[in-house]
């Protein structure tokens, strides 16, 4: 089992020391990614889903950031212990990332060709004609019309969807084994989102990549993921196969989140279930369950002690809750 894991993160804790105090962004996250698998990390803003990925890739500025504990094993090496120059050989080559906002992720003063060519030059040591030919191929593969001409253009000359396509082309340039997609469709309209989701799935199959898809949209999760991790306030609160998560959620937060969502394919049958209050202040050191203040089932122990992430159902379905939500009784 263990040997199949392409990436294995254990007990990752990331903090930021800022003027107001310490931000407890990631509080002991463990996850495993198998070869060829797509997992989704879902959660609301500030839940630590992006910071987790940035920590793994060594993209957290230190200071103010601090990786307080944890390891991230990739091909037997702990990514968190690599030097910056060692990391540069992995980032963009073995592990690539695409971001939410292609306009800020792309450099506005460099042409698409220059930016697309960079990973090819740095990681694959290609010469100029080879870079040009490969760049055209890549743009063609992601469905950008007139690729030779596009190479001379700048990011602002492309539409939002095309910019995201160009960024995907860039990330795929060196045949990565892991693609981390950080809300790549959030800034896009639904019809363009559908195009991008389809594109990533197609490449995942062709290149036999593993994908970590970060999102806040449970609809997108249902569409792309095989396994799902639900994050809240820097903790993983539930982990399950996608069907199990939607059919049989075991954490009160997941349950509440699903009940707060309207469905496009169903008639309205009730008011939305709103979750009272707001996520906890990350400037306070976590104590007890982070969801306790908003949870219907809360009792004394929840406020004192963080429940461990334990198996609650078959297929490695895990939840971190003192309660068994199926019976409403403490475990």
């Amino acid at each position: 089992m263990e040997s199949q894991n392409l990436l294995e993160v254990k007990d990752l804790r990331t903090r930021f020391h800022i003027a107001e105090g310490t931000v407890y962004a990631v509080n002991g996250v463990s996850l495993a990614l198998k070869e060829g698998e797509t997992i989704a990390v879902v959660g609301e803003s500030g839940c630590g889903k992006s910071v987790t990925m940035l920590s793994i890739l060594g993209l957290i500025p230190i200071p103010p950031g601090e990786i307080a504990s944890g390891e991230a094993l990739y091909q037997g090496r702990d990514l968190l212990k690599l030097t910056e120059s060692e990391m540069e050989h992995i980032r963009g080559k073995d592990v690539a990332m695409i971001f939410q906002d292609p306009m800020t992720a792309l450099n506005p003063v460099l042409s698409i060709g220059r930016q697309l060519g960079e990973p090819l030059r740095v990681h694959l040591d290609m010469d100029k004609p080879a870079i040009r030919q490969r760049s055209i191929e890549l743009l063609e593969q992601v469905g950008i019309p007139d690729p030779a001409h596009r190479l001379t253009e700048y990011p602002h000359q492309l539409s939002g969807g095309q910019r995201q396509r160009a960024m995907i082309a860039m990330s795929l340039a060196c045949f990565p084994s892991i693609l981390i997609a950080d809300e790549p469709t959030t800034a896009l309209d639904v019809t363009i989102q559908a195009q991008i989701v389809e594109l990533v799935q197609q490449f995942r199959e062709q290149m036999h990549m593993s994908v970590i898809w970060i999102t806040h949209d449970l609809g997108v999760v249902a569409e792309i993921a095989e396994r799902v991790l639900v994050m809240y306030a820097g903790f993983i609160v539930e982990e399950a196969l996608v069907d199990d998560l939607f059919e049989d959620p075991r954490h009160p937060y997941t349950l509440a989140l699903l009940a707060a969502l309207p469905r496009v394919d169903r008639r309205r049958d009730r008011r939305l279930n709103s979750i009272p209050g707001a996520p906890p202040n990350l400037l306070l050191e976590p104590k007890g369950c982070p969801f306790a203040a908003r949870c219907e089932l809360v009792f004394d122990r929840c406020r004192e002690e963080m429940p461990p992430l334990i198996q609650v159902a078959p297929n490695h379905h895990q939840a971190a809750c003192w309660f068994d939500v199926t019976t409403g009784k403490p475990r």
Partner: protein, 337 residues
């Protein structure tokens, strides 16, 4: 919010009547001798009514003109052509007094709860501003009392009255924006993507609040959004826009269960469903390409270059906006009869 949408016969006089409304933004060139070299046709001839007490959803992708339509209806932009009649008063013909009255009567809730509140003003000043502008409560004490009352209505503690916007979370800020819109007892509120900047667990709070307020004060909403699932949840009728024109308008469940326009069909099929089993079964219509520029929209039907069922005359002739069954409007050559 009423469970069933109000029928036309019950409401012979709509609260809002929009006829052939156009809003073009000129593009100028030249430094000294500015010339008009074209126009962004943001809204290019839309016609619809909003009944008293209903919620009309206005959906479409970015750049389709839905926000411009909402702002033009409120008189925030001068009208290029066509007319808007609110409660019998025409926006174009109204004199100063009438315009002032309309501004009280019709309010707006904005998308970005960060940008739409003045960061240097306290909550008290922000919510009290419309009362001051319209000289409704001149006395400071009475105004503070009214602000208290409004804060309670939207679920904010009046203890926070002297705080500044940055001290609130996104959801709370949106509540401040709602309280400000309610200050002058409006009849009609344009909600411009009021929840798209909020997290899922907070979205439901704000949506439920808007529904409660509608019940309590008999409000009429124009709900502009791109989240088609939420629109199905809160709207009575839904209108779909594409590149400055309306392509379809129908009662909520009719539109979602029986979409007639190929664009509506593609749009609905692209919305992800939070249910993996349904998601695998759904047939998706993936539209090729991007939305064209509104400066030089395609001839004939604006959707024809991306339309999966486009016919030859679609590129030549603009389809007529017509009512195909009771209350179901569509603009498409392919729809019979």
């Amino acid at each position: 919010m009423s469970a069933s949408p109000p029928m036309r016969s019950e409401n012979p006089q709509p609260l809002i009547q929009v006829r052939q409304l156009k809003k073009h933004f000129p593009i100028r060139q030249g430094l000294i001798f500015e010339k008009e070299v074209g126009a962004v046709k943001a809204v290019d001839g839309i016609t619809f009514d909003i009944q008293q007490g209903e919620t009309l959803g206005l959906v479409g992708e970015s750049g389709c003109g839905k926000t411009t339509a909402g702002r033009t209806i409120l008189g925030l932009y001068p009208i290029t052509a066509g007319s808007v009649i609110i409660s019998g008063i025409s926006l174009e013909e109204a004199d100063k007094e009438h315009i002032k009255l309309l501004r009280r009567y019709a309010q707006m809730i904005f998308q970005d709860p960060y940008a739409s509140l003045n960061p240097r003003w306290t909550v008290s000043a922000i919510i009290g501003e419309p009362l001051r502008v319209h000289k409704l409560l001149a006395d400071d004490k009475a105004r503070t009392e009214r602000v208290h009352e409004l804060m309670l209505k939207v679920g904010l503690s009046p203890r926070l009255i002297n705080r500044f916007p940055h001290e609130f979370s996104g959801g709370q800020r949106q509540r401040i924006g709602v309280a400000r819109a309610l200050a002058c007892n409006p009849k009609f509120i344009v909600c411009d993507e009021p929840i798209s900047a909020l997290d899922v667990s907070i979205q439901a709070q704000v949506v439920n609040l808007l529904e409660d307020l509608q019940d309590e004060f008999g409000l009429t909403y124009l709900f502009i959004a791109h989240d088609l699932s939420m629109v199905r949840h809160i709207c009575d009728r839904v209108a779909v826009m594409y590149l400055g024109v309306m392509v379809e308008l129908a009662e909520r469940d009719e539109l979602y269960d029986n979409p007639l326009h190929p664009y509506t069909q593609a749009l609905l099929s692209a919305v992800p469903v939070p249910d993996p089993k349904t998601s695998r079964k759904r047939q998706r219509i993936i539209l090729p390409g991007d939305v064209p520029s509104p400066i030089n929209p395609p001839s004939g039907c604006r959707f024809h270059p991306r339309c999966p069922i486009a016919m030859e005359h679609c590129s030549q002739q603009e389809p007529e906006w017509r009512e195909v069954t009771q209350g179901h409007w569509v603009a498409c050559h392919a729809v019979n009869p």
